[in-house]
């Protein structure tokens, strides 16, 4: 399988290890700034919603985490597919690093969605199609992580979990639309779907800031975790023993 040259260069673990080393802080600090700005804007500057009052502010944390939970699963499946096709150890490292972060954001989306449901529906848990899909997504993440760690040989765990992620990502839309059909046949006339209300620009820009902030945060976090995964997978490589020699504070 032919690979463009720059991908080869980026794909070489030591090269990627050095890049992620200095790039991670450059992603994390702007992310923290954006998130701080987004929180402030979302809580204070944005006007209250005429229907839900201030309750709607929860979308500022719920929507970014829900968006990231799906994005990260897609990225994880893509990395796993690259790993399986081109046998690139780095791709497996990216998939293994992305999984826990994705699981955390899915959990966050679930919790914030449930808390948002309390004022809206009066109960913490409502089998709303989106929340149900998030719950299933969490199971897919947990399945990936537990399968990967149930093999002694890391390469075997990577390949098995990677295949599961690819099968999972193909199934995700099917599961999502089945859940939507399933909830639609119970549709009472007065359903209150978990919809972001019609959103004006004053409400929208904090949301976009937070989505960008969360994404940069994920990217920085991912690079850090990928460093750990790369070190573990390349533990026998010469470049690892080089930078790990006592007295050298490298990497």
């Amino acid at each position: 399988m032919y690979l463009p040259n720059w991908m080869h260069k980026l794909a070489s673990p030591p090269h990627f290890f050095r890049i992620s080393g200095w790039l991670a802080p450059w992603l994390l600090w702007p992310a923290v700034a954006l998130i701080a700005l987004g929180f402030y804007a979302g809580l204070v500057l944005a006007p209250a919603d005429y229907q839900q009052g201030d309750g709607f502010r929860i979308i500022y944390v719920h929507v970014p985490s829900a968006y990231l939970s799906t994005l990260i699963y897609g990225l994880m499946a893509a990395a796993a597919a690259v790993g399986l096709i081109w046998r690139m150890k780095l791709a497996y490292a990216v998939a293994a690093a992305a999984a826990p972060i994705g699981a955390w954001f899915t959990f966050l989306a679930l919790v914030t969605g449930a808390i948002w449901g309390k004022p809206m529906w009066g109960t913490f848990w409502e089998w709303d199609p989106r929340l149900t899909s998030e719950l299933i997504l969490l199971f897919l993440y947990l399945g990936f992580m537990s399968l990967r760690t149930s093999f002694e040989e890391p390469t075997k765990g990577d390949r098995a979990a990677g295949l599961l992620a690819v099968v999972g990502v193909v199934n995700l839309p099917i599961i999502h639309y089945s859940v939507i059909w399933w909830s639609s046949i119970h549709q009472g006339p007065t359903i209150k779907k978990l919809d972001a209300p019609s959103i004006t620009w004053e409400m929208a820009w904090p949301l976009l800031t937070l989505i960008l902030g969360f994404t940069l945060f994920f990217a920085g976090l991912l690079l850090q975790r990928v460093q750990a995964e790369v070190l573990e997978r390349e533990r026998n490589a010469r470049w690892v023993t080089e930078i790990m020699r006592p007295g050298i504070e490298g990497g």
Binding site: G53, G55, R57, S65, L108, V111, I115, P119, A228, T241
Partner: protein, 51 residues
């Protein structure tokens, strides 16, 4: 904040906690892998120097 204060603050609070947890676990994971490898390389070096 109307009657929603507890809900809004709790969601933002939980979000901050989760973000911080992620940062800490990522850093700790990297440090533990690095230390394990350092130990390993040092032990190999010692064993090789004995041979």
């Amino acid at each position: 904040m109307g009657g929603y204060a507890p809900y809004v603050w709790s969601t933002f609070g939980i979000t901050l906690v989760v973000l911080v947890i992620n940062v800490i676990t990522a850093k700790r994971r990297l440090r533990s892998v690095r230390e394990q490898l350092k130990l390993r390389v040092a032990r190999d070096a010692r064993r090789r120097s004995k041979e």
